[in-house]
Symmetry: C2
Subunit: 494 residues, 2 copies
């Protein structure tokens, strides 16, 4: 169980908007188990103090007097002067320790800037539970899980730290990846007097209705597979009907369960649907974590795992059982790279960071449409059906998704007043579909990283990093320096 | 009962932070009566449709499913084209019809711009009661009276209007005076993708702890009186001890009650304190509404009423009963200009717009410190005592004031990222103490109006307007034109 095991939690959380759509009901499991699993899995390379701060459950009314302890991590090893820069990670959907361990970029550059490091946990994740083990009990308790409340938590925490004379004139730079990157961008937009600049990596702030085509996401996944081998997505696309045809008979289902070493039999078409959803998740996951170096996740993966998968899917003439045997070999890269798994358990969904809270966020604010047409992508055709989505959420949480809320609250189409934000996106990352890929203004800029998957730039430096990632980190440092200098000039701090 | 009668409601609301401090307990009266009085007093010059829109009581959580009807007024008389500019008044603490009737500037310029006019009522005021007649019952119901919820109401309403194809590319310009001006500035800062520009008149967004000296407000009041006559504030300052000395005996209290034609006797020193607070309120009120033309408020006033008052307070040698007789003549300008009042009823506090809700806002977000030293101003010395303030609020509402909340949420000291806002302030207006008096950026500018009292520039054009007010309105129109043009250029609307 190493560092990378934990990383999987982070990445998997990022697929959730997709998975949430595809597998809405899969996630509403036993959250207590999930939490336990997360905590047990943690072990870390970087060291920090763990602190808490009292937070109001509701920042926006005076009707709820409840408070809770928000957890945050602090490291002041590199802080040598008064008014040191504060590097602040805006935690996303998971245990903050995982983010601290997997945002090596902040640790890498802290010495150069003499920065104080703070990692703030997102409410309703990790150990920052507003109502303890009742937090997820019902809407009364869970309803304060919103991005706007989380931003207000971070603002309060920053103000608290800056209330100490030592940090009175400390410039604050926020960092975040994925949903954490969305929070980084938004906190700068909404509270520019509190935060001097933001590195928002792989932040799909445009992955919303009416802004981004819902097909975009799976087309990038498909493109990653096509780049690995031109026949790869064709064979995956062909496999869906092959699976349906072969599993239409008892004998076919038996054959597939046996051939793929499933732990349970495929009893009916519903089991077959579950299998296909499982496959889709795997393909998406592979594209998201398509990293340039071998990584030991919960399931260890080779460098560029999509390429490794597609090595088995090059022969254009594969059909029928031969095709399915090849598919099995391919997904083995993901499910059994270490050859330790005895059988493939479809009910054994990969432990997920945010598995508890994200489905609720996806059912309220974070309605991110994803769809596929099966023609321009390698997935089964699946339209974006908002009515069904709303129905599912109503059933699950008695809450009505608000697909326009994010764009109304934070803006999507007109972000021209944004300043001091770097939006970095890897073009291999499916989530770049909803990223900011063009400069918004002279100081809110887009950094495109052609060879990067999901927020690789926020990870610690690695010998195998492609040059475009190395370059992106140089951009980040350039802008961080500039924002700090501007702040100091304005406040006459030398 | 004329147009100006209503105006008094607006202005009096603006004194409330002061009055709230000075007379905290005076305001917690029968709010139902206040509401009735407001409604009865309304009669209008401008015409509009009255509409409502369903609003969530709580925009920032999913735990409160309640909705209510927010009232707004619409006039489309001058709208001649698709995508007409929307001039949107961000209602403050009172019945929105009063603001519509007293923001003549918007009506004056609507034809020139072909604009749609909208006036939105602030929640918990007028008829926009989230919980009907239970809205003020307790903290559970009242706690959603916050500026941030109000801004979210306005954002929702604007988005609703713009969801109609006719207004899809309508630029939105917001207007507001005093607290309404604060809301106008803040909505542009927080939602620049929704609002293209803001005219924030007499908006004391800096009248908060640690930003503005608490003495500033009363010094401007004093300066207005000094400008009228150099001896005027000296005599007012002298009068406090004179009142205390003379009323220290039964005979003296009888004399004063008789001489000033009070409706009730001055039974004890507490009654005397009430009298002095009443006087302080009058002096502040006079400075705020120190308008260049005769105005028929609840109590009719002459042009430049401060000058009229000070005509009686020029003789430096006035002392004792002679001084108090002169003070009585002076305040008669305010209390009895029409010579209809038979006796002066200290319990008859002037009907106040916002009398119900503002004390709660002042006890939560809007903690605006005001104090006097009695040396550099003409008032009784009164320190700013936050502890006492907090105690009073705790007693009254079971709520703890948050003196730093506004600056944390909206920013005070660093507003350099603000764009497309005109902050206009009259230098005769005591509230300019907390106004933005210097440009924040090239497009967030300060317009100083030397000869103006409280947001005179938002009133309809008048032959007696000083030139500086005429000029300020030209600035407003220049910027409004510019913002509309920039929006249209960006969206290619010609």
């Amino acid at each position: 169980m190493g560092l990378y095991n934990i990383l999987l939690f982070i990445f998997i959380a990022l697929w959730q908007p997709t998975m949430q759509y595809i597998l809405l009901n899969k996630f509403y499991g036993n959250y207590q188990n999930q939490l336990r699993t997360q905590n047990e899995l943690y072990s870390g390379k970087y060291k920090y103090e763990i602190k808490t701060i009292d937070m109001p459950v509701d920042h926006f009314s005076f009707s709820v007097p409840d408070t809770f302890k928000l957890r945050y991590l602090v490291n002041n090893t590199w802080q040598i002067k008064k008014d040191a820069p504060i590097f602040f990670y805006t935690g996303n959907e998971g245990n903050i320790e995982n983010f601290a361990q997997n945002t090596g970029f902040m640790w890498d550059i802290a010495p150069e800037f003499g920065a104080l490091l703070i990692f703030a946990e997102h409410r309703y994740y990790g150990e920052s539970m507003p109502y303890g083990n009742k937090s997820y009990m019902d809407l009364n308790h869970l309803g304060y899980l919103t991005s706007r409340q989380a931003l207000a938590d971070y603002v309060d925490l920053i103000q608290y730290v800056k209330s100490k004379p030592e940090y009175k004139y400390s410039p604050v730079i926020v960092f975040g990846g994925s949903y954490g990157g969305m929070l980084s961008a938004w906190i700068r937009m909404k509270y520019p007097h509190v935060v001097q600049g933001a590195i928002a990596s792989s932040a799909p702030i445009l992955q919303f209705s009416g802004v981004t085509e819902c097909e975009a996401f799976v087309r990038i996944v498909t493109s990653d597979f096509k780049t690995a081998h031109t026949n790869c997505p064709k064979l995956i696309r062909r496999s869906w009907n092959t699976i349906i045809n072969i599993t239409s008979s008892d004998k076919g289902r038996e054959w597939l369960a046996d051939s793929w070493k499933l732990c349970q039999p495929l009893k009916n078409s519903s089991d077959v649907q579950q299998l296909m959803s499982y496959l889709e998740d795997i393909y998406i996951n592979l594209a998201v974590v398509n990293y340039p170096y071998e990584a030991n996740f919960l399931t260890p993966l080779p460098a560029y795992p999509v390429k490794a998968v597609c090595k088995h899917l090059t022969n254009q003439s594969l059909v029928g059982t031969e095709l399915l045997i090849a598919i099995h070999k391919a997904i083995n890269i993901f499910t059994n790279y270490s050859s330790e798994t005895k059988c493939l358990n479809l009910n054994d969904s990969v432990p997920q960071l945010g598995a508890v809270g994200w489905p609720f966020q996806a059912c309220t604010e974070m309605v991110m449409p994803i769809c596929s047409d099966g023609i321009n992508d390698m997935f089964k055709p699946r339209s974006w059906n908002l009515d069904r989505y709303i129905n599912d959420c109503m059933k699950q949480y008695s809450v009505k998704p608000q697909p326009n809320l994010v764009c109304e609250q934070y803006g999507c189409k007109d972000l021209s007043t944004a300043t001091n934000i770097v939006f970095s996106n890897g073009l291999m990352d499916p989530w770049s579909s909803g990223g900011v890929l063009q400069n918004l203004s002279s100081s809110a800029v887009a950094v495109i990283i052609p060879e990067s998957a999901h927020h690789l730039d926020l990870r610690s430096s690695n010998a195998n990093d492609p040059y475009s990632v190395v370059l992106a980190r140089k951009y980040h440092r350039f802008f961080i320096k500039k924002w700090i200098q501007e702040y100091r000039d304005k406040n006459k701090i030398y």
